[in-house]
Symmetry: C2
Subunit: 372 residues, 2 copies
DNA sequence: TTGAAAGCGCTAACAC
DNA sequence: GTGTTAGCGCTTTCAA
């Protein structure tokens, strides 16, 4: 009726092109009611016809479908969500250390999650928040309150992760990439970081190294913790001395790796090999090494962690531990959807065995003590 | 009442711990009605009190707020959205060429958009779809139908971009990173790619190069088109001959750059310089060059495009054209929010001037004809 | 200053 | 098979 009036009293007279500001009006979406009115049947029947219920006559169904198509009907998701009390949306709160971050970790994870979500009919809501910030907490609070998203992905788990305790307390559906030391049980996928460090250290020892330094990920991150622990264990297992000066905490960025490498090389007693907590730092670190006039892979062995796609394209190519981020994203997505739908998970706790990728940066076999 | 029954007939008897499956129930969120009932006032008043309307008595307001806090009230966004007919959500359909993509472009853009969106109170809905696929089309169709998101970001615009024509036709709010050749007007931010190619070619010419090859971005992408055009123009401006064999279309990945470089070097008449359509290809390309025994930055000059954060960390460091992706994302986000709220944009069409970043890969000045 | 009523668009229980 | 009724949780006239 309202619309009728508008059309009838159009300023331009009939047949004359409307000014563009009419567009807003014309964008009024068709609803079930429009179809119902058009066909002279009830909204309910239209709803069920479209949903393919068996208790709707075949020919009514066909007529409904036809007018729906003609009118370009698309269901109003918001209304449907309100009614069904689920959003069919998965949430992902990206913990970015710096605002202008650019970590391949996230884009790869996003791809894995996103593809899987799309193919399962779920949307993905992404929020960018600094780890530990008030805003981050607020975002989790909002999620846990319900109605925002049906479930959450938690990545880069922290040693004492209040995000996770919060979600556990609220009994909100979520899955995590990584474990924690919190006292709660939740579904996760993680890579056995400690085992990864073991592998790379064994590799370096095999090559003749014993003076091995470690540029660790932040220790508040659970995988940082595991990698550091793994470092100590592996060194002990090989009867190697660990010098505290040879362990530096990095910030996961290239820049951080560069600085760390340089301060390591500025020591009077230099290591002959450096393991970096992630590939980004390793790549930056190799630059730092070059800047001091040494050659990574020749004068200093370098190892990374993650096997990001660029790691085979740097010079020297990076020896690293593979972490199948894309697959983990995909898998976590499947798990989360199962959790949301209260299906039993076949595996609630997945611990993946890492693979060592040997490339050039770890260099050839050396004679003990042959380095400067 | 329903719940009452459940509680009253609980199997365990009173005082006995409930089985964990009760949690689902306990997660029932507090609504306005709960607060209203608690206070013995109407839902309307609660709603307005919380919204801070001036026509609610100060002390009622305070009491409302207090119980809201106590009960841990969070508004049900879905209900609010249905009522307000806006989602406060921005959409971003990520066109990933390969499923397991890892393009720093996207994570940086996402960071820019995401931070801005968060600070403006908007959510970001991300969907991952192969460019040109049926699914991608469906996603845009759904968006244009309304109710899914309030506005869209379109990135990596295509020469003939049906996403854009669709959105224009439907008069749906969106902004684009890039222009198109479609016959419609829309708000965008773009970098002057042609000017960028000009700069890098001038730089190479200054260094003594004349045999310049180009590994172009896909020509269906608008910025690919511009960069190719820019290449021809700049070569013409410098009176340089363009050999068709020296122009190869790449796929924007490292692998693609590597292959392209190798086929270029396999020619009997080799270029002395190669410009790549983006940094990822340039990095891969440098690897391809090394694989044939030549040194990028010494035997062959290399230029990239984008200035991704890794480009200063590869060896040799990459001479490239800067593209401030993060800032563009931020700016586009502001624009989109303005479009959604029907505010006049100060600038509907932004064309940024690129900056040349000279590093090592373009090498030193050469004598004409001094290369093998 | 507060409340009753209507409605956003959809689905579902329950008649008929 | 189809329609009636109710309701998801919220906002917003309009009266009181």
């Amino acid at each position: 009726m309202y619309i009728r009036n508008v059309l009838e009293t159009g300023f331009g007279g009939t047949g004359v092109g409307f000014p563009t500001n009419i567009n807003r009006e014309s964008r009024m979406a068709t609803t079930l009611r429009d179809i119902a009115r058009e066909l002279g049947i009830s909204v309910t029947t239209v709803s069920r016809g479209l949903a393919g219920y068996s208790d709707v006559a075949e020919d009514t169904k066909a007529r409904i479908q036809a007018t729906a198509d003609r009118l370009g009907y698309t269901p109003n998701l918001t209304a449907r969500r309100l009614q069904k009390r689920r959003t069919d949306t998965l949430g992902f709160i990206l913990p970015t250390l710096t605002p202008r971050f650019s970590d391949p970790f996230f884009s790869e994870f996003l791809a894995g999650v996103g593809n899987e979500a799309a193919s399962r009919g779920y949307d993905l809501l992404v929020s960018v928040q600094a780890p530990g910030s008030t805003e981050e907490r607020a975002a989790y609070e909002r999620a846990a309150a319900g109605g925002w998203v049906d479930g959450l992905f938690v990545v880069r788990t922290r040693v004492n992760d209040e995000r996770i305790t919060r979600l556990c307390d609220g009994n909100f559906p979520f899955v995590a990439f990584g474990r924690t030391e919190c006292d709660c049980e939740f579904p996760y996928v993680d890579e056995d970081s400690a085992a990864g460090v073991h592998q790379i250290i064994t590799h370096l020892v095999d090559l003749g190294h014993s003076a091995i330094a470690f540029v660790a990920p932040p220790s508040y991150l659970m995988f940082g913790r595991y990698r550091i622990q793994g470092f100590y264990e592996a060194m002990a297992a090989h009867n190697l001395e660990v010098r505290e000066k040879w362990i530096i905490e990095g910030d996961m960025t290239q820049r951080g790796g560069e600085t760390a490498a340089q301060s390591l090389l500025a020591l009077t007693e230099r290591p002959t090999a450096i393991i970096f907590g992630n590939d980004l730092m390793a790549i930056g670190g190799m630059n730092g090494i070059k800047a001091t006039g040494l050659q990574p892979g020749v004068d200093i062995a370098v190892g990374g962690f993650d096997n990001i796609s660029l790691s085979s394209y740097v010079t020297p190519s990076l020896t690293t531990i593979e972490q199948p981020i894309y697959d983990i994203g995909q898998r976590l997505c499947t798990m989360l959807i199962d959790v949301i739908n209260e299906r039993e998970l076949t595996e609630r706790h997945v611990l993946l065995s890492p693979t060592l990728i040997v490339r050039d940066s770890s260099g050839p076999r050396i004679q003990a003590g042959s380095r400067r």
